[in-house]
């Protein structure tokens, strides 16, 4: 797996770097397989507002975040159910939100030899 959809939040402001293109900071267009796709676990970044709007209900267009001294961003999409990801062989496939964490994490490596259910 090489690429995934990620979210550029609706309520973007200069301090929310998620999805930024014209920004060479290391967490902008990046995502990690630490959390499963569209996870309800908040993203984390030093550059998000310390106290934002109320986090509930969960809004996929403006995923929850916390301000922290670590960075973490999940693969996210604006359509329900999963994310589309691109693989090194040129294929594009849908991955469901309910994917097993172990499989999703193996997909972030080059030789996990995992079986991926679409």
């Amino acid at each position: 797996m090489l690429l995934s959809e990620i979210i550029f939040p609706d309520a973007d402001a200069d301090y929310d770097i998620r999805g930024d293109m014209m920004n060479d900071d290391n967490a902008c267009t990046m995502y990690m397989t630490f959390e499963t796709p569209n996870s309800s676990v908040p993203d984390a970044s030093p550059f998000t507002p310390p106290r934002g709007k109320p986090p509930a209900p969960f809004d996929p267009n403006d995923p929850p975040y916390i301000t922290s001294d670590w960075g973490q961003k999940a693969a996210r999409s604006r359509h329900p159910g999963g994310v589309n990801v691109a693989f090194g062989d040129g294929s594009v496939r849908g991955v469901q939100d309910g994917i097993a964490l172990a499989v999703w994490r193996a997909m972030g490596t080059i030789n996990g030899e995992e079986t991926v259910q679409e």
């Binding site: 200069d14 301090y15 770097i17 930024d20 920004n23 900071d25 959390e35 499963t36 796709p37 996870s39 309800s40 676990v41 908040p42 984390a44 030093p46 550059f47 507002p49 310390p50 106290r51 109320p54 986090p55 509930a56 929850p64 975040y65 916390i66 301000t67 922290s68 001294d69 670590w70 159910g81 999963g82 469901q96 939100d97 309910g98 994917i99 097993a100 964490l101 172990a102 499989v103 999703w104 994490r105």
Partner: protein, 135 residues
């Protein structure tokens, strides 16, 4: 085979036909988070499936409470509350802010990085409070 079991089986078949993910069996888990009796005002709670066979789940903690949706499984629970600080602007031209400890963890590591908290989540909605201690 009991009747509820048949009903459950039929429900599963119906959901599978609709293309639903296992998320359909998720229940709402809610509760309070305190440290030494005081509400944890901000931060996050995170549920990681111990067997790796289901997705992660979590929530932002607001005013000492959290609410999330979880599939039944056994989870390792991590609770984090980074110290709040002034807003940092990405493109602020003013000089670098003086270094502060904003973002530093305020909850002991045995509740997050080296968590010992475990929670077995059954089907259906539930309430679970986490009363943490710093000692």
């Amino acid at each position: 085979v009991t009747r509820p079991a048949i009903r459950q089986f039929l429900a599963c078949v119906a959901l599978a036909a609709l293309g639903c993910s296992p998320a359909a069996t998720e229940g709402v888990l809610t509760g309070a988070v305190t440290l030494d009796g005081a509400p944890v005002n901000s931060g996050q709670i995170r549920f990681v499936p111990v067997d790796g066979q289901s997705p992660t789940a979590g929530a932002v903690i607001t005013a000492g409470r959290y609410e999330t949706k979880l599939a039944p499984a056994e989870y390792s629970v991590e609770i984090s509350s980074p110290k709040e600080g002034p807003t940092r602007s990405m493109y602020d031209a003013s000089p670098e802010p003086t270094p502060s400890d904003a973002g530093a963890e305020t909850i002991p590591a045995r509740y997050n990085a080296k968590t010992e908290l475990k929670l077995k989540v059954e089907a259906g909605d539930a309430e679970r409070n986490f009363e943490l201690t710093s000692k």
